[in-house]
């Protein structure tokens, strides 16, 4: 069986260097059949490989990148401006900047794989980045998966709480993160939806890279929603929602879902899931739903465009 292969890359966004990371099963060889590209988009509080390629001591199967590499995908992620190993600037890395990051990253994907399109998965504000990217670059998004997504923010318990610190998000382009903060991400919705040790493993990895992250997505989520338009997303869409996720109400998400124009769309609630589905106790259910959406067979009729 082929071994896990990984490679680092750098994308260039008008002089801002963005770190990219790729994993697939076996090194790509000239003449290989192209593997479907899955591009993972991180959220507000931890960088790409930290969240999507996490290894938790003594606990198996936390790397989403490796899981989908094993399924046959060519899996990419990127550290957005100001996160992880990417350059930090005076900017606050708001959603619109994230869209520009993804455009720079997609150019690298195309250069390395020949693929002009990819399936995009985003979690939390990563879902906002991915959805806004699909609005702006519909030709390069084959399928869109939005997890822990919020559209208007109406009635969101998490955003109501977060807005109390709006002065903090506006007064500085970065906010401090520490171990206690990483614990809070996994406990704020419902203790018991993640295993012990996960938040510490994530903190270990992320705090080795930085002690602060940009404030732009927090600001956008408190002040500027909606930042994406469902009527501009032409591709198939999957919305995944953890049962206990406080980032949005189900009503808000169903309104977005209802407005999506593509006839291929799925809305899946994961019971026993919270805000970070892919690092939760029930992540196998999350993989199952995501994998089945990505491998949905093609249409056989002649009516489809």
């Amino acid at each position: 069986m082929a071994e896990m292969w990984q490679q680092e890359y750098w994308a260039d966004k008008d002089g801002v260097k963005l770190f990219m990371f790729r994993k697939c099963l076996g090194a790509p060889q000239a003449g290989d059949a192209p593997r479907p590209v899955l591009f993972l988009v991180h959220g507000s509080s931890f960088s790409g490989p930290s969240g999507f390629d996490l290894h938790v001591p003594g606990k198996p199967d936390y790397s989403l990148m490796e899981k989908f590499a094993h399924y046959g995908f060519d899996v990419w992620t990127l550290d957005h401006e100001g996160y992880g190993r990417s350059d930090s600037t005076d900017g606050n890395s708001a959603i619109a900047e994230g869209v520009r990051d993804l455009a720079a990253g997609m150019a690298v994907v195309t250069r390395e794989t020949g693929a002009a399109t990819a399936a995009f998965y985003g979690s939390s504000s990563g879902a906002l980045r991915a959805a806004a990217y699909a609005d702006a670059h519909p030709d390069s998004v084959e399928r869109l998966i939005l997890d822990a997504f919020v559209w208007t923010g109406e009635g969101s318990p998490t955003l109501k709480e977060r807005s109390k610190k709006i002065d903090q998000w506006t007064s500085s382009n970065r906010r401090a993160v520490d171990r206690a903060f990483f614990h809070s991400i996994f406990n704020r919705d419902m203790p018991g939806t993640s295993e012990d040790g996960v938040s510490d493993a994530l903190a270990d990895k992320e705090l080795a890279l930085c002690d602060a992250v940009p404030t732009g997505t927090y600001y956008d989520m408190c002040v500027n929603l909606p930042v994406c338009d469902p009527t501009k997303v032409p591709c198939p869409v999957l919305i995944i929602r953890g049962e206990h996720d406080g980032i949005a109400t189900e009503e808000d998400l169903l309104a977005y879902f209802d407005a999506l124009p593509n006839g291929d769309k799925q809305f899946v609630v994961i019971p026993g899931g919270a805000h970070v589905s892919f690092l939760g106790v029930n992540r196998a259910r999350f993989w199952h739903v995501l994998h089945n959406f990505l491998t949905l067979p093609g249409r056989a009729d002649s009516l489809g465009s």
Binding site: D264, L296, A300, D301, S302, G304
Partner: protein, 311 residues
């Protein structure tokens, strides 16, 4: 995910009979002949208004590939059951109308037979069109029997349904007699009413031939009357189990909003709403049925929960 057996794997077909008062109810079962180390999960398929069980779920269309949902899911490893409701197929054709409520009673009769044969007390239900209404109403009445509920071509209140608006124009006709003809012409109408091109041209004749072979030629009017005059017949708040709703993009039986409202009201947070392009009302026997199989299987084979929060 269960291992899929090849097309040549032997499938056992068995017939059973249930008794609802004086009414004989035909029950049909398919599963792989090869023994299984573990009990095969039971999938019970509930037919709709216009086709009996085997026309709906065990259809043969020679030269056009697999049409039998029973065969497909038997190969996936399921123990697949279905039944002819009162007045349909090989079940007794009575003077009754075979309303949704009668369909619930039919399913109650089938359950002890399924339990005795399989040793299992619950099963996953799939229903299409008024079969989804029967299955949903059964889940309301007998939640202890329903492990999972999948509904395709479902309508809740009927508000803004193009198909039901049209159907209601003939409500007096449905009420005047308990049966209506079911033949090639009527099937052509069903397959083409939403859009042309999502079923093969040979399907109406194949369905009519199957229906005649199964004792058909006419079907009861009760579900048509219920869908025109008596909706809603399913209460989402009383559905306790995980639910998947499957909706074709061309299906005129319901408005999106009606289906979304039902989905939103479901109390179990293990729920999925799958909308699919290239699908009309008869998803199971359409050109893109393989896509429907994919999502139904994915729902039925969802890994178990590992948290301790399930209340």
């Amino acid at each position: 995910m269960n291992q899929t057996q090849g097309d040549t794997a032997e499938i056992i077909a068995e017939e059973y009979w249930g008794k609802k008062g004086d009414v004989d109810l035909f029950i049909f079962r398919k599963r792989l002949a090869a023994p299984s180390d573990t009990p095969r999960p039971v999938l019970f398929l509930v037919h709709g208004s216009s086709f009996s069980a085997r026309t709906s779920y065990d259809l043969e269309v020679p030269g056009h590939g697999e049409y039998s949902l029973m065969n497909v899911f038997a190969r996936y490893g399921f123990d697949v059951w279905t039944m002819d409701h009162e007045g349909y197929g090989r079940s007794t054709h009575t003077d009754g109308y075979s309303y949704i409520a009668d369909g619930v009673e039919d399913l109650k009769v089938a359950m002890p037979i399924m339990e005795e044969a399989t040793g299992q007390t619950t099963c996953s239900f799939f229903g299409s069109s008024s079969g989804a209404l029967r299955a949903g109403a059964f889940a309301n009445a007998c939640p202890e029997r329903v492990a999972k509920l999948s509904m395709a071509a479902f309508v809740w209140t009927g508000k803004d349904s193009p198909t039901l608006k049209k159907r209601a124009e003939r409500l007096d006709e449905w009420r005047a007699t308990n049966r209506r003809p079911a033949d090639e012409a009527s099937y052509l109408g069903i397959f083409s009413r939403d859009v042309v091109g999502l079923t093969i041209p040979e399907l109406p004749a194949a369905a009519a031939a199957a229906e005649m072979a199964n004792g058909g030629g006419s079907v009861p009017n009760g579900t048509y009357i219920d869908m025109c005059a008596n909706l809603p017949v399913v209460d989402p708040l009383k559905v306790a189990c995980p639910v998947m709703i499957f909706r074709g993009d061309h299906d005129g039986i319901a408005a999106d909003e009606d289906v979304l409202n039902f989905f939103s009201a479901l109390p179990n947070k293990d729920k999925q709403l799958v909308m699919m392009s290239g699908q009309a009302h008869n998803t199971g026997i359409g050109i893109n049925r393989h896509r429907f199989w994919h999502v139904l299987r994915a729902f039925l084979e969802m890994p178990v929960r590992l948290d301790n929060l399930e209340g």
